[in-house]
Symmetry: C2
Subunit: 341 residues, 2 copies
């Protein structure tokens, strides 16, 4: 049997643990509730017990490469501390890596959840075969991950890839990070719902207003459904989402000139609604993204791409993620496989 | 004798050529006029003749490592074509590398001038001993260079590092690249003079208006002198320059988490005037740049730096370049020394 690694995707709602082999085959996957309200020690305990059970199960048939854990929050790689985590409030400045290693009595690799999602898409998804890539994840917040030379680019502190905290509106909406006008305030699922409420406060008689008032669980998905039905208020919001994404992606294109940028996360399923405006901004603002060869936004959606200026023969691809919510699980399992290489 | 490399800094006004040894010692430097009006063939001819003379002079005493040329413009690394060059208008889509190699009958390495300046500062200047760094050059435009693992990060097409074309004002001033609101439109020497004219058009009776009208050669330097004398209109412009620089630097800090960012170019000599507002934005917008340890802007100027959140012990340094206009010359000479490594 191939060697296995265990990948953990620790979310605010679910805790998912998988055994993945070195060819990327998912051998087993389990999902537990993340009982955040019971405190971090409880969550860590449940997680370590499940990892231990899975590890024991395969120990006689397949050597264990290692354990990787994706955590929603800013991780300081040197210290293994969780710096910030909106979904795990009592984890702030918590030495999570040490706590896990102490229980499991083995080394684990901790990474930001968006970084591991990027690594997953690089390994088995939309950016397969690309050693250099960036990913944005549109969820409760906007996460980001950067892969350089096939490995996560953590930067000096392991805190790189926070594309969601790029300023798009210098005097815009305040962000949880303390800044104003971060991308996260215009392209996360949370922001989409907030912008819907703002639109309704300006016009309380619209179809959007009726939908919001009648549905206590109104979500980014509800907003997308309205846009898909042609609601102009909803469509305007997604155009703005796309514009903001396009502004930040253009800055990345001009700064990093990567061959591929992948957009994932739950709210990226609204791709049809936001991507036309996103590509419009990319054509306008990117030096290495030539409008002349972009004919069909659907073609771009499918992974076909814009070419740079005629003659160079290179492409800059902006595309949808392929692994869905499993990207982080695969990426976490991949961490120990490429550690030290 | 140590091995030598020849570095060339091809500017719109001057053509400078230097022989530099592997320890970074400048052995010889010559400066010629760049007679752009006589056409690219003339410029290339003059340059190649001077390189040949310098190469012949040392050929019996020191082995030649190679030749590196910094060119103001966007270079396609794969093809050796100059894509865009505001200072060398007839060089657009010109196969400059092939033209130089044909005359010299040897391989040369062509690079964007801001990229080689970054490499120079990394080798011998403000970012010495840092393998990962970024540089912004404030000149006629705003150039940028990114060094990763000790080498210039060119990206897929060699066109990375164009930080000057990051959007800071989505609906702002139109840029030469076709976009609106690029950093270059707010932080270049050209932009500083334009913003002075805009301020004067709003208030034609100010000291700034008198200075502009009485001085046909009014420059960014003139504006800085006014700011240094306490002129509030001039100071307001530099505060805005600093704000825009801080917004873009914060995006780089959050995305790349590099240990050091260097600001050079002629207009960076207005550091005292723009850097307080720049650091204010950095404190506000950066995740890895903690305000609490920044006490004295002058200390930062000297290379001392802001620390990240207490406990991690790492620093993000934003500092002034050290090599002045020689950065590009040293960086160009460095190119062949690290090629292939």
């Amino acid at each position: 049997m191939n060697r296995l690694a265990i990948g953990v995707d620790l979310g605010g709602t679910n805790l998912r643990i998988a055994a993945v082999d070195e060819q990327g085959k998912l051998v087993e996957k389990i999902t537990l509730d993340t009982q955040v309200s019971l405190g971090r020690d409880h969550v860590i305990g449940e997680m370590c017990n499940a990892i231990q059970r899975m590890s024991d199960k395969y120990k006689n048939s397949a050597p264990l490469v290692g354990i990787g854990v994706g955590v929603p929050g800013i991780i300081d790689r040197q210290t293994g501390l969780v710096r910030e985590s909106p979904n795990l409030p009592d984890w702030v400045d918590y030495p999570a890596q040490a706590a896990i290693e102490q229980r499991l009595k083995t080394v684990v690799i901790l990474e930001n959840d968006a970084n591991v999602a990027a690594l997953g898409e690089k390994w088995l998804g939309a950016a397969k075969d690309c050693d250099d890539m960036a990913m944005l994840t549109l969820g409760t917040g906007v996460g980001g991950g950067l892969v350089v030379g096939g490995k996560i680019w953590g930067g000096a502190n392991g805190m790189a890839g926070e594309f969601g905290h790029t300023t798009v509106e210098p005097d815009g909406h305040i962000c949880g990070c303390g800044n104003h006008g971060c991308l996260e305030q215009y392209a996360s699922a949370t922001a989409m719902v907030r912008m819907a409420r703002e639109a309704v406060s300006r016009d309380g008689t619209s179809a959007l207003a009726r939908a919001l008032h009648s549905d206590p669980g109104f979500s980014a998905k509800s907003l997308y459904n309205l846009a898909a039905q042609g609601d102009e208020d909803a469509r305007r919001i997604f155009r703005y989402v796309g514009r903001c994404l396009g502004i930040v992606l253009s800055a990345l294109v001009n700064s990093l000139n990567l061959p591929i940028y992948v957009i994932g996360g739950g709210a990226s399923s609204a791709w049809d609604a936001f991507s036309p405006a996103m590509f419009e901004e990319l054509r306008r603002r990117s030096l290495v993204f030539d409008a002349t060869t972009v004919q069909d936004p659907n073609a771009i959606h499918e992974g076909a791409a814009a070419h740079v200026k005629p003659g160079s023969g290179h492409r800059t691809v902006i595309t949808h993620a392929q692994l869905g919510s499993d990207a982080g699980l695969y990426g976490a399992a991949r961490l120990p496989m490429i550690a030290g290489s």
